[in-house]
């Protein structure tokens, strides 16, 4: 586990640099076991920084989420670097953002956090409901140790681990300037059996499954907004000219929304799982993204977010691409 003192020390050094304007990390949340993003602009703020298995957010999203309202005449944009803490999965978002030319590598100071897994907060809160006061979660071997209200509980990690971590291929950041801990060896494999299982159902069963999920959608767009790869200036979902899908919230438009969202992430989703995590009505969005991920890997031997030198999947082709369904 990351040494919290070292983390703060590194953060202090980084934010003290003249060429760094902002450091994005984590701090404890407002209640219970939660942790939340922290935006550090001065050395005084580093004391609140933490990294624990409760640090679920993918902070890479904030690199592309920043709004740029019109600058007053004569004002110069602050082009100094942004420092960001990333876990293995999050780091792939940085790579993919760079593949898509969101910024140059030297715009960033990357604080890499080799990660042995974060919790699924819903599982934690279901297991320990009603905890208001600040609780802590640390990893000890194969267990999570939770301390709250003067008590300490040990829970086997597998019971609280986020699903994405149970199949994490890249626990150690693929890009980093300062690695905050020793490299974590790959501890899980991903065979996409969850997707294969769904694929094996009949079309009727599949539609029944998805119709149920999509009908719950309230189109809050949290899945889109939290996604580190969704950062168009003007999303087609918001456009009125033309209307790609209507604002109506019904099974047809909701389905169209989910098809569009998932398709736009084909060959781009880096499996941080944020969309599924934030969905208030528990739509298993990663099962959509992972279908594309699985097909893209099988058909084109392509995994996004691994190399900044990669060509975007759908901006390229091979003459040999499979076409067995084409008449």
């Amino acid at each position: 586990m990351v040494d919290q003192a070292k983390l703060r020390e590194v953060a202090r050094e980084v934010i003290s640099r003249e060429d760094v304007r902002l450091l994005i990390g984590y701090r404890p949340g407002t209640y219970g076991f939660r942790a939340r993003p922290a935006f550090v602009e001065s050395a005084e703020q580093v004391e609140e920084l933490v990294f624990t298995p409760a640090c679920v957010s993918n902070l890479a999203s904030y690199l592309v989420l920043e709004e740029k309202p019109p600058l007053p005449r004569g004002a110069e944009p602050d082009n100094r670097k942004v420092a960001v803490m990333v876990k293995g999965c999050d780091s792939r978002a940085l790579v993919q953002q760079m593949v898509e030319k969101a910024y140059e590598r030297d715009h960033l100071v990357v604080l890499g956090i080799p990660c042995s897994g974060v919790v699924d907060m819903a599982r934690v809160e279901a297991r320990f409901p009603g905890v208001l006061s600040a609780g802590s979660i640390i990893r000890e071997g194969d267990d999570f140790v939770l301390s709250f209200d003067g008590k300490t509980e040990k829970v086997p990690a597998a019971e609280l681990l986020a699903d994405k971590c149970k199949r994490c291929r890249y626990p150690t950041p693929l890009v980093s300037d300062i690695m905050l801990d020793d490299e974590v060896e790959r501890f899980a494999e991903d065979d996409f059996s969850d997707i294969a299982e769904l694929e094996g159902k009949s079309v009727e069963e599949k539609w029944a499954y998805w119709a149920e999920k999509f009908s719950r959608c309230i189109r809050c767009y949290s899945c889109r907004n939290v996604c580190p790869m969704c950062y168009c200036e003007d999303c087609i979902l918001d456009r009125l000219k033309p209307v790609w899908m209507r604002r109506s919230v019904d099974i047809s438009e909701n389905t169209a929304f989910h098809i569009s969202r998932a398709y736009h992430l084909a060959g781009r989703c880096i499996q941080c799982g944020e969309c599924a995590r934030v969905c208030p009505v528990d739509i298993p969005l990663m099962e959509l993204n992972r279908k594309f991920y699985k097909d893209v890997e099988e058909l084109y031997d392509y995994e996004p977010g691994l190399s900044t030198e990669a060509t975007p999947l759908l901006s390229t082709f091979s003459v040999e691409d499979r076409e067995d369904f084409i008449l």
């Binding site: 019109p70 168009c232 033309p242 209307v243 975007p312």
Partner: protein, 678 residues
């Protein structure tokens, strides 16, 4: 542009072509109910002058600002109606066509269903035209030069015409000499002109013409750009002979250790050459070439103590260190004149070609009967595989002169079993000519021709065919099933279909009238120029009747047999046509470029570069712009390079790059209309 759309819908009967299947009146009634449709009319032929006048009058009198024509395919008359709009000052891109003929009335039988479909297609056109925008047709300069690929008779003729008109020509030929297949022929039908006599002067002309840069033994490697501005890369293959020094004396070929051992391509392998060679005596340029596939020095690094050719060459022209040379130049137009291959008779094994030396192909027969050929113009049974050059003192075995010669037509033509459905157009006549020549050389020979039909359609052809028949040549209607040996004779088994008599015909020699095939290396050109092929695998013209020398790509034209089998007059005629088409562009000096190009909304582009990566024409680049004080990268389109495919538009996640006339805003309403089930 922002004026409220006032749409006129014009529905064509096309005589009964549309009206017989589609209830035109009903479509008019329906169209007139659609939003923004001010007028809907029908007329027997919208494309006729009075039909077009209906449109122009309505535009002028009713203030229409959008027009839908429901008629034939836009591929047919879109240009016509665009001009109609333009003639009264309306932007030509305010037109949308509904294809209710080719894709409706001609393919459906049920009147009700066809009418319903026509209504939907019209509605789809209406919703699209409502959202169309005026486009500006821009012009680019045309480089006054032409690349011609292939220097057979078609390429030569096109080159001479263009060069004579004062434009620069780059004539690229793959082999060491110009001339192509025509140079191999002895006489030409029906006039019996000596092929070399009429061709050679033109060959010399292309070599000497001040406007022609002749690049023999060269290959086009890369072509990029667009009409008027093609960038060409040509590989000038090394001849290992310095052409500026070579006098063409031939001493080197005489001296070559392999002299007389290498089959001559020009003589169809019946004659032999050296590794260093001139393809044929009249070759242009008259410069020797070392064949690096067979040259001992080049393949093994050793040729005796030293290469004999080097010793023999007084001019010191041979240079084994010579490298391929890359040339780069710009042209405005391109003519493809790559010609044909002949059918490989081994693909009809029942005729025994390759097994029996007495079975020859027609092209081999041309070489036999040619005075410059390997047998000095004697019609004999060639001695295949035997070295012509005998050792001193050894007795020459004289080649056998056939007394009975049989020709078989349509070998590899009109034959589905070998995948060639088409007629090769030249075989009937060259067979008649060859029969005549054989009779001329061996007056007492018995000559028989097996045929399916005789097609003597050209000027003077029927007369020639008649003349040959009267010379005592026997025509038997029947397609032989096999050829086999019996003693020292060959037996042709066939059925005389006119008398329904099975027969076995004994003969000394068989000549197979092989057909013309698309070149085996046609893929190279297809990949270079993105040409399409027709089902017979010859290159596809833009329109079989009205644009026979054009290709789908502006500025690229076809000449000669690469487009389909042709005899010499047709090839020359088409070459002149292609030359003229190219010269129109070069003479006007300007050409209109695609108006339906892509355009970027820089306010929403996020600069991801997907479109840049995807554009096959490198027409898009990322540039830095100032967005409300912030420097951001956005895509920008070079409209002269953009060909309007729209691949970028489908790749853009935010819809920030759009193809004009095919914007999402214009296509989505079409989908909405067409998607609705009736």
């Amino acid at each position: 542009m922002n004026a409220r759309p006032k749409i006129g819908v014009y529905i064509c009967h096309c005589g009964i072509n549309i009206a017989a299947t589609v209830d035109v009146e009903e479509v008019v009634r329906f169209a007139s109910t659609l939003p923004d449709v001010v007028v809907a009319r029908n007329y027997s032929y919208m494309c006729s002058d009075p039909g077009q006048a209906l449109i122009t009058e309505d535009i002028q009198n009713m203030g229409l600002n959008r027009v839908v024509v429901a008629s034939c395919s836009p591929r047919m008359h879109e240009p016509t109606f665009r001009k109609t709009l333009m003639s009264v000052g309306l932007n030509p891109y305010f037109l949308e066509m509904a294809n209710i003929r080719e894709q409706c009335s001609w393919v459906h039988e049920d009147r009700i269903a066809a009418t319903e479909k026509a209504k939907r297609l019209v509605e789809s056109a209406v919703v699209k035209v409502r959202r169309l925008e005026p486009l500006e047709v821009k012009e680019v300069e045309v480089e006054p030069s032409c690349l011609i690929i292939g220097a057979g008779i078609a390429g030569i003729q096109a080159a001479l015409d263009i060069a004579d008109a004062g434009f620069k020509v780059y004539l690229v030929e793959k082999t060491p000499s110009v001339g192509g297949h025509m140079a191999q022929l002895d006489k030409t039908f029906p006039t019996l002109d000596c092929s070399a006599c009429i061709l050679t002067p033109k060959m010399v002309d292309v070599a000497n013409h001040p406007n022609i840069e002749l690049l023999t033994y060269s290959q086009v490697e890369e072509i990029s750009g667009y009409v008027g501005n093609f960038d060409v890369k040509v590989r000038k293959k090394s001849r290992f002979v310095d052409v500026s020094k070579c006098t063409g004396c031939g001493a080197c070929a005489e001296a070559c250790r392999q002299a007389g051992r290498i089959p001559s391509e020009f003589d169809e392998g019946l004659g032999m050459r050296s590794c260093i060679y001139l393809p044929f005596p009249q070759a242009v340029p008259a410069k020797y070439t070392i064949d690096k596939e067979t040259c001992l020095f080049l393949t093994r690094g050793k040729c005796g103590d030293s290469p004999k050719c080097v010793e023999a060459c007084e001019a010191g022209a041979i240079d084994f260190e010579m490298k391929d040379e890359m040339l780069e130049f710009k042209v405005g137009t391109i003519i493809v004149a790559t010609g044909f291959d002949v059918f490989d008779a081994r693909n009809k094994p029942e005729y025994g070609y390759g097994t029996y030396p007495e079975v020859v192909t027609a092209l081999e027969f041309e070489r036999l009967v040619s005075a410059s050929g390997p047998y000095g113009g004697k019609v004999v049974i060639p001695q295949r595989g035997k070295k012509k050059k005998k050792k001193e003192g050894e007795e020459e075995e004289a080649p056998r002169v056939p007394k009975n010669i049989t020709f078989i037509q349509c070998v590899g033509s009109r034959d589905k079993s070998v995948g060639n459905e088409y007629c090769s157009r030249v075989c009937c006549m060259y067979t008649a000519k060859q029969a005549h020549l054989a009779k001329d050389k061996i007056p007492d020979a018995e000559i028989t021709i097996f045929y399916m039909d005789v097609r003597a359609f050209g000027k003077g052809y029927e007369e020639f065919y008649d003349r040959v028949r009267r010379e005592g040549i026997r025509y038997i209607r029947g397609n032989p099933s096999e050829i086999f040996r019996r003693g020292d004779k060959l037996v042709v088994r066939a059925e005389d279909t006119l008398t329904a008599t099975p027969m076995e015909h004994e003969t000394d020699m068989v000549v197979l009238s092989v057909g013309l095939m698309p070149r085996s290396d046609r893929r190279e050109i297809i990949d270079l120029l993105k040409l399409s092929s027709s089902p017979d695998q010859f290159y596809l013209e833009a329109h079989p009747k009205l644009r026979p020398v054009d290709t789908a790509t502006d500025g690229i034209f076809l000449a000669g047999a690469c487009q389909g089998p042709k005899d010499i007059p047709d090839a020359v005629g088409q070459a002149k046509g292609a030359a003229s088409a190219a010269m129109i562009l070069m003479a006007s000096g300007k050409v209109k470029v695609e108006a339906q190009t892509s355009v970027v909304d820089e306010a929403t582009c996020r600069g991801c570069g997907f479109c840049v990566e995807i554009c096959p024409y490198s027409a898009i680049e990322l540039v830095e712009v100032n967005r409300m004080g912030w420097p951001v990268k956005v895509a920008r389109v070079n409209e002269a390079l953009c060909k309007g495919c729209g691949a970028c538009a489908a790749a853009c996640l935010s819809g920030s790059i759009q193809q004009r006339s095919f914007r999402d805003l214009q296509i989505l309403p079409q989908i909405e209309v067409l998607g609705v089930s009736d």
